[in-house]
Amino acid sequence: MVYAYYPGCTLHQQAAGFRDSTAKSAQALGIELAEMPNWQCCGAVYPLARDNLFGVVSAARNLAAAHDLGQAMVTICSACYHVHKRTNRLMATDQDARAKLDAYVETEYDGSGEVLHLLEVIRRDIGFDALRERVKVPLEGLKVAGYYGCLLLRPQEELEFDDPEAPRILEDLIEGLGAEAVTFSHRAECCGQYLSLSNPAAAHRCSGAILRSARRAGAEVVVTSCPLCFFNLDEAQAELAREDPEFQPLPVLYFTQLLALALGAWEQPWLPAEHQVDPGPVLSRFKLPVAEPAGSEE
């Protein structure tokens, strides 16, 4: 099955590691992600005002384009997923909004297409039990904190992604890769979002609480599917370490990077320049078994 792949802006800028690990993982899993031509920024935020549709015009255009391709849209960024899924539902359920958006975008799209997160595609098309059999580098003993953030889970009646109070999908993925999913209190608390621009201290408090709670639960690494969560969690750590000498840094990764590593699709699925906290020390123990003895020098 071919999907209309919507990478989103961040992936072509700050999150090349997310982009490339997604491409390599999808290829290894046989999920065909065909990047949509001429896609536009999703708007990044789903507007709270119900009578202002400008914020979703761009998303509506993307959705109509995917529908014209006859493909379900797949995204990996939490924000892109959130905005597209909700806009799609708006067009399917609100006649008035649909008429306005269609008139503005000059399409006749009715919200009947599908918007999926890559996690949902894996859950549906492959299944986490079957995923276990595709793993070449089981991440045995690795304790992973699956961090959901806000945008993947709520509002549940619109996203229909997972139980927002007791989500499972990241844990299922982590366990499917042979790692150990740790349950931590702050897995769906806010990371501080755009406060990192206007009030960095407040954002650091939010991120710090998440990282400390993951650490208390024994995590060695945190995974997320949101570039903004990634930024906040990763970037805050230098400051947190300055304030608190006890603070132990915790590497942050996109879930696809762990996926690519476990599938043997990418030997070192991160770009050091993109990480404040280097995941190397934690992840370098997981390597593809190599045939020649010369390959293993340690």
């Binding site: 139980d163 927002p164 109070e165 007791a166 349950t183 931590f184 209190s185 208390r216």
Partner: protein, 651 residues
């Protein structure tokens, strides 16, 4: 030529405010056949009824139309008034000019014209009416009570003490319901068992109570005074007649299972009796966990039984009971806690519900009354009680208040403090609803004497922290976030209808509300009757309620049954359909149209027949009949056409 009287009611200003009552009276006075018309401020009052009676006698009326409120309101009142004056009550008809006219219109002129038309059409109806007498039928003076919790047992005992035989059906192998699981009861803290077990014993030995445990009512037919119930007796795999209750089988059974009676807090065996005071004190085999049923080998119980009472081959048996009245007392279930994922019930062993906490408190429970938390058996030093879990929660739970949780959470916390003196109890609440005799005082004592800490606010999340549970909540009175590291969390979950209450309601043709609680005929004036005559309800099957209320309602239901059984015969309203056999083709459309099972095709004559007692006089079959063979009494085709014509007339 008929002599009809018309009586127009002002209903204070309810009708007169919108309808020109005098004009209606004057218009009707000129109708052919109307010999008397008058109006009065309150026709239903004693003077109003007197006016009607006087007119009947003085003007020799042979028909009466009262233009007033809905017939649901006062039709019976006026018919009795007419009968008192010597006029057959069925010669009195009500023209509804309140609910269907004055209340729904604002234009006085139009409303008056409509009131005239409505009243005129009823005059046409009365013209064609016949004097009718109620149908008398016999009543079988045995009662069926479904459910043997406190409410059902109390109903059964009161009917039986009143001199009538009762069939008491209980799904579980023992009686007592949820009350048997409770430790102490609020607001007196008297032990639940001490007040319950004398009753279970009395039910067990009462000569007029036929107790059918491990049984379910699967089918009900018939009508008030003459119901037939088919009851399935589920196998216990033990011959209870041969069994002496020595419980050697339970002692020797190798298969341990979580105890259902202890809500998983303790252990039981695959063959067991739920608790030591159970009535009847007889064991049953849990087929799903029994080794023999799974593998075909074991039979330890059979070997050790001194009276050879084990019967692995037992099958369900069906029995039929004929009764005159049925009381529903099926009780409640607890809300599905998986729907509130943030509290982690089922995920963290030390998050339990109120009923599980009762089992920990109970002297006959798995810990013999010691408060020990499930995960490691330690005495919890900090307990958080969360109220309104699933109650008053439109988003995830039930919009209603479960009514008993404020009281039992307060009770739990107090009993905990009485047992663990250095322990601390926190209670998160929305409002404290302690309406009831001695209830508010009980809550206050909890705060003042037992040092309970009440926090007004909701809990957002519970998650493990070390070997405890971190509880995030808010205290809305101080406006602060609260974090409590607790050893144990107790959820006061909503009371919900039994999972299969709707199916039972369908089988008995009684209504349920939006949630599945049985619907009473009137929320204030007929609180224990269903809309199906002869079927009553009591206890938490009708709505969440506590023990005192469930018992009071049981008495009320029993007195209704006793009143029904007090006469030799019952009466059924004579407004039912009749068949003109010569016109009937036996097509069966009336059978399809009837929702009361009152119509059928006679297998011999191949013609339709009417069950007079089941017929509610709705007229659906009369409308469906293509041949005009079915006629609703006092609503003949001719009458209806005349009524329509009267409605079409100009004033």
């Amino acid at each position: 030529m008929s002599r009809i009287g018309v009586f127009v009611c002002h209903c204070g200003l309810n009708i007169a405010g919108t309808v020109d009552v005098e004009r209606v009276t004057a218009a009707l006075a000129t109708e052919p056949g109307v010999v008397w018309a008058e109006d009065y401020k309150y026709m239903c009052s004693e003077p109003g009824q007197q006016m009607i009676a006087q007119a009947i006698e003085e003007r020799k009326l042979d028909g009466v139309v009262v233009a007033a409120c809905s017939p649901n309101m006062h039709e019976t009142t006026f018919r009795i008034a007419c009968a008192g004056a010597g006029l057959n009550g069925y010669m009195c008809e009500i023209a509804n000019i309140r609910e269907q006219c004055s209340w729904v219109h604002a234009d006085r002129e139009a409303a008056t014209r409509k009131a005239v038309a409505i009243t005129r059409s009823m005059v046409e109806k009365v013209r064609g009416d016949e004097a009718l007498v109620p149908i008398k039928f016999a009543v079988n003076k045995r009662a069926l009570v479904i459910g043997a919790g406190i409410s059902g047992m109390q109903t059964a005992l009161e009917i039986a003490d009143g001199g009538h035989e009762v069939v008491l059906v209980e799904r579980e192998p023992h009686i007592g319901g949820h009350m048997a699981q409770l430790s102490e009861t609020f607001p007196t803290l008297d032990c639940s068992s001490c007040i319950l077990t004398p009753k279970t014993a009395e039910v067990g030995r009462h000569p007029r109570i036929k107790l059918l445990t491990h049984s379910e009512v699967v089918e009900v037919s018939g009508y008030v005074g003459s119901f037939k119930a088919r009851i399935r007796r589920n196998p216990t795999y033990v011959d209870w007649g041969a069994c002496t209750g020595c419980m050697e089988c339970m002692n020797k059974c190798p298969k341990r299972v979580p105890s259902k009676f202890d809500c998983g807090m303790g252990e039981s065996k695959a063959i067991s009796v739920a608790f030591p005071q159970a009535v009847p004190y007889r064991p049953q085999i849990d087929r799903d966990s029994c080794i023999y049923f799974a593998t075909g080998r074991c039979k330890v119980c059979e070997r050790v039984c001194p009276t050879s009472a084990i019967r692995f081959e037992q099958e369900p048996e069906y029995v039929e009971e004929e009764v005159g009245a049925i009381v529903l007392a099926t009780g409640y279930d607890l809300f599905n806690k998986a729907l509130v994922g943030e509290y982690g019930y089922g995920q963290y062993p030390d998050v339990i519900d109120g009923l599980q906490f009762e089992r920990l408190l109970s002297a006959s429970g798995p810990t013999a009354g010691a408060i020990l938390r499930p995960s490691d058996g330690k005495v919890p030093k900090q307990i958080v009680f969360i109220q309104c879990v699933g109650s008053r929660d439109e988003e995830k739970g039930m919009p209603y208040c479960s009514k008993i949780c404020c009281m039992y959470s307060g009770k739990h916390a107090r009993l905990y403090r009485h047992k663990v003196h250095d322990g601390q109890a926190y209670l998160f609440y929305m409002d404290i609803r302690a309406g009831g005799k001695g209830y508010e005082e009980f809550i206050q004592q909890g705060v003042e004497e037992d040092g309970l800490v009440y926090l007004r606010g909701r809990v957002a999340r519970v998650f493990p922290e070390g070997d405890g549970l971190m509880v995030w909540g808010e205290d809305t009175l101080s406006g602060r976030k609260v974090e409590i590291l607790a050893d144990m969390v107790v959820l006061a979950t909503a009371m919900v209808p039994r999972h299969d209450a709707r199916e039972l309601a369908q089988r008995l043709k009684v209504g349920t509300d939006a949630y599945g609680f049985f619907s009473e005929a009137h929320p204030k004036l007929r609180p224990v009757e269903s809309l199906t005559r002869g079927i009553y309800m009591t206890g938490a099957a009708q709505a969440p309620k506590d023990i005192p209320e469930a018992v009071a309602q049981a008495g009320s239901a029993a007195s209704k049954v006793l009143a029904l059984f007090s006469g030799r015969e019952l009466e059924h309203p004579p407004i039912i359909v009749e068949l003109i056999p010569d016109l009937c083709s036996g097509c069966g459309l009336c059978v399809e149209a009837c929702t009361y099972d009152a119509r059928s095709i006679d297998p011999v004559s191949r013609l339709a027949v009417v069950n007079d007692i089941l017929c509610q006089g709705c007229g659906a079959c009369a409308a469906a009949c293509p041949n005009g063979a079915t006629v609703l009494r006092n609503a003949s085709r001719e009458q209806i056409l005349n009524m329509v014509e009267a409605l079409m007339q100009d004033e």
